[in-house]
């Protein structure tokens, strides 16, 4: 296989808060090949958004990238190593801020956020903002940029693009604003688009329109995507490969069909069983017990063991890495010691069932602090 377009290697992001260090992203690795749509899925608090903002070095204080390496198209977006004094530092290979801003952001990698209202400036017209972006990033004259902006608006399905060019963001509906952001992301024909829950705030029919649009544009431009979502339905519809995140770690990594039909991690299984289905009536939902623990104080051993129906004694001590466990032609990795690849003492270990059965009590002791 050719070299990946984007390679994230052992990325660690921590937030230094008054209460302690939050390990929001704790050593995740994944890659994205050309023309691929890779999903990053998990519940809120799993660290998905932090992980993708690290790719563009957009992590805000008190957050900091404290380890790992992100490579994009042969360039090192960031490489952080720990010095002899224990402090992390950026290595020489990391490209400087100015260069990242001028050459990479917007031109090579674009990002689409969940809330389109926050990404558009309310006091400038939609067309003006799009035009300025094209003008700056593609060195076109104002008139050419304007023409390009109108045709981009048409491309993403804005009705009457010439007339709407002069409208302000508040005059657009949520779905149309999201289309404008997609137009903006596409305007420079980047090779990678990072989409952070771009359809979560939208209605289903609008979401469907946007997903169609993305698939169509992907066919035409061959753009790669990193798609952050919590919706397994969206994952099934558009992703080629999927990374499932739980509490700052990737617990399973697989092609989309394998993820749904050859599920290897208990968390993924639980997530799939807890969603109500639109295409069939499910009498009783099978929710995951409890709530996700806080990243400031993750459980020892496997982070999922407090909620895992298959947890055993051994899970409380070993925190498994994400290893190859599949037998298909494409890699399928999972971080669960029940698989043979781990050669752990899972089978001989007594089950932890009792704790998981307590349901809400677990959530109360795990998720909340006592008075």
């Amino acid at each position: 296989m050719s070299d990946p377009l984007l390679r994230v290697d052992d990325l660690q992001v921590q937030f230094f808060t008054e209460d302690g260090v939050v390990r929001a992203v704790d050593g995740i690795s994944f890659d994205v090949h050309e023309g691929e749509l890779v999903g990053l899925v998990g519940e809120s608090g799993a660290g998905k958004s932090v992980a993708v903002s690290a790719i563009m070095r957009l992590v805000e204080s008190p957050g900091k990238i404290v380890g790992g390496r992100i490579e994009f198209d042969g360039e090192t977006l960031i490489e952080v190593e720990t010095g002899p004094d224990g402090d992390p530092y950026r290595t020489e290979a990391t490209i400087p801020d100015g260069e990242l801003r001028e050459r990479i952001r917007g031109r090579e990698i674009a990002i689409i956020f969940q809330d389109p209202m926050e990404s558009l400036n309310p006091v400038f017209t939609v067309g003006g903002q799009l035009r300025e972006f094209i003008e700056l990033n593609r060195d076109l004259s104002e008139r050419e940029a304007r023409e390009e902006a109108v045709s981009m608006l048409r491309e993403v399905g804005i009705p009457e693009p010439e007339a709407r060019y002069g409208d302000y963001p508040h005059q657009f509906s949520g779905g149309m604003r999201q289309r404008v952001l997609i137009a903006m992301a596409l305007a420079c024909e980047p090779s990678l688009i990072i989409a952070d829950e771009p359809t979560t705030a939208l209605d289903v029919t609008v979401e469907a329109q946007i997903l169609d649009l993305v698939e169509d544009l992907q066919d035409r431009y061959g753009t790669s995507f990193v798609w952050v979502t919590h919706d397994m339905g969206v994952v099934a519809e558009i992703c080629d490969r999927v990374n499932v995140m739980y509490l700052g770690e990737i617990v399973e990594q697989a092609p989309v069909d394998d993820l749904f039909y050859e599920t290897k991690h208990p968390y993924t299984t639980a997530l799939l069983e807890s969603v109500p289905r639109p295409d069939q009536t499910v009498e009783e939902l099978n929710p995951i017990k409890g709530v996700m623990p806080e990243a400031i104080d993750p459980p020892a051993g496997c982070r999922f063991h407090t909620r895992c129906p298959a947890a055993r004694e051994a899970c409380t001590t070993t925190n498994p890495d994400c290893r190859e466990v599949g037998d298909g032609d494409q890699p399928h990795r999972a971080a669960c010691i029940k698989h043979d690849a781990f050669e752990a003492a899972y089978n001989g270990s007594p089950p932890l069932d009792a704790a998981a059965q307590q349901g809400f009590d677990v959530s109360l002791s795990g998720g909340e602090t006592d008075d």
Binding site: P159, A163, V204, V234, A236, F260, S274, I288, L364, E368
Partner: protein, 436 residues
């Protein structure tokens, strides 16, 4: 004496399970677009005589909605944002005054009630809101939050209320020990459970749930939904469950009502609605949901365009401007395929979806080079000539007038009953496709 009046004079819980508990009859709710003192005046410089016009613009948030909710059932109300679901819910609870129509609760017209009587009825109807964050007072302890409605309605003494609050906390799946905690110590799902406990504290018959789980993570959503179902069984509750997520609706509801732009478009038994959807809007909604199965053959994005403004909703069927099954006007003799092309052309001209103005190119793009014959073809040709002259507005108007406005969908308001394929419950669908 009518049955209803009899029930009213008795004034007791005489509603049996499966009988109508809440009846909504022709309810409409309009909001003025501007509530200022002189907002009914507007300036029109082009007018003959006085350059002033009177009259307010109204947002028709809910228009002419009728249905009944039976005791013990969960009625799911689904629709996209802005379709009037929440306004309808608030109108039913009389948190908003209906502009027109009446709402009967246990046979009594809520509009007739006021003051003390209305307050007493409020005890029987409770509401759970979407945002578990803002619906709990951050400075009140959980126990007090649950007790407050009981106190307001003068139920029990202080000790009894505390005991009941603790009992309810346990019932909704929380630890009664948490009686003295503040809301911030709880997660979103747990807060929604507190909301449930508060709503149940006054022993209501009817609970309106406005998107109660849409702010929660999927795994937590399932926990709360299961609890709501258990409570319904235990307390004999009736739910009006509002959501935009059809998967959630499919899980929790017994019957489902679908709303679009302030009106009900379809109402049927759950299975019937999901397996035999009879309104094009319901079908489009169902096709749009992403299915969590990569092997499912996805059909989506079937709807074009955006929801029209509720200030001037389309005449006849409100969905007609986006409907993929808009009926061809009877006066033209068009094949189905030709009509599909004309309809696509008409909508794309309106939205200016293409840039070609050359007549030949437009004909190729939409009609494979051959414009349909007859009077329909004449209109299309005239519109293509308008486009060639860069007169998009004329072309739009010409096409709308000749086709969209002539369709039965624009002329009559649909209201039909469909033969159910599953079960025997009434299935209504407001679509002219069912007019025979």
């Amino acid at each position: 004496m009518t049955e209803r009046a009899a029930a009213a004079t008795e004034g007791v819980d005489s509603v049996g399970f499966g009988d109508p508990l809440v009846e909504i009859q022709n309810v409409s709710k309009y909001f003025p677009t501007d509530e200022g003192l002189f907002s009914w005046l507007s300036v029109n410089r082009d007018a003959d005589g006085l350059p002033v016009e009177t009259g307010r613009e109204w947002v028709k948030a809910v228009e002419d909605v009728s249905f009944t909710i039976r005791k013990g059932e969960t009625l799911g109300l689904v629709g996209e944002s802005g379709c009037g679901k929440s306004t309808l819910a608030r109108t039913i609870l009389r948190l908003l005054e209906p502009t027109e129509g009446s709402i009967y609760f246990k046979g009594r017209d809520l509009a007739d009630l006021s003051g003390e009587k209305l307050r007493n009825t409020r005890k029987d109807v409770q509401m759970i809101f979407q945002d578990p964050q803002s619906s709990l007072d951050p400075r009140m302890k959980v126990g007090k939050i649950v007790e407050e409605p009981m106190q307001a309605h003068g139920l029990l003494d202080a000790e009894g209320r505390a005991a009941r609050a603790q009992e309810l906390l346990e019932k909704v799946g929380l630890d009664p020990q948490h009686y003295n905690r503040y809301p911030h110590a709880f997660s979103g799902g747990q807060r929604q459970r507190i909301n449930l406990a508060r709503a149940l504290s006054v022993n209501p018959d009817f609970v309106v749930c406005d998107e109660p789980v849409s702010a929660l993570d999927v795994s937590i959503q399932a926990q709360v939904l299961n609890t709501m179902r258990d409570l319904q069984e235990e307390f004999g509750l009736t739910y009006l469950f509002i959501a935009h997520d059809l998967s959630v609706i499919r899980h929790i509801s017994d019957r489902v009502a679908v709303m679009y732009l302030g009106q009900l478009v379809e109402l049927a038994d759950k299975r019937e609605l999901f397996e035999n959807p009879s309104h094009p809007y319901t079908q489009a909604l169902l096709d749009s949901i992403p299915v969590p199965d990569p092997r499912a053959d996805g059909r989506r994005g079937v709807l074009e365009g955006d929801v029209p403004s509720p200030i001037q909703p389309p005449s006849g069927c409100r969905f007609r401007t986006r409907c993929p099954k808009l009926i061809a006007p009877a006066e033209y003799d068009l094949s189905d395929e030709a009509w599909d092309r004309v309809r696509a052309f008409m909508r794309h001209v309106k939205r200016r979806d293409f840039t070609e103005t050359d007549p030949e190119a437009v004909r190729r793009r939409y009609f494979d080079g051959h414009v349909p014959g007859g009077s329909a073809g004449d209109v299309v040709s005239a519109a293509i000539d308008d486009i060639a002259a860069d007169d998009w507005d004329d072309a739009t108007e010409r096409l709308q007038e000749a086709f969209a406005e002539q369709s039965v969908c624009a002329r009559e308001e649909p209201d039909y009953e469909v033969d159910p394929e599953y079960g025997t419950d009434r299935h209504t669908a407001a679509c002219h496709l069912h007019r025979e």
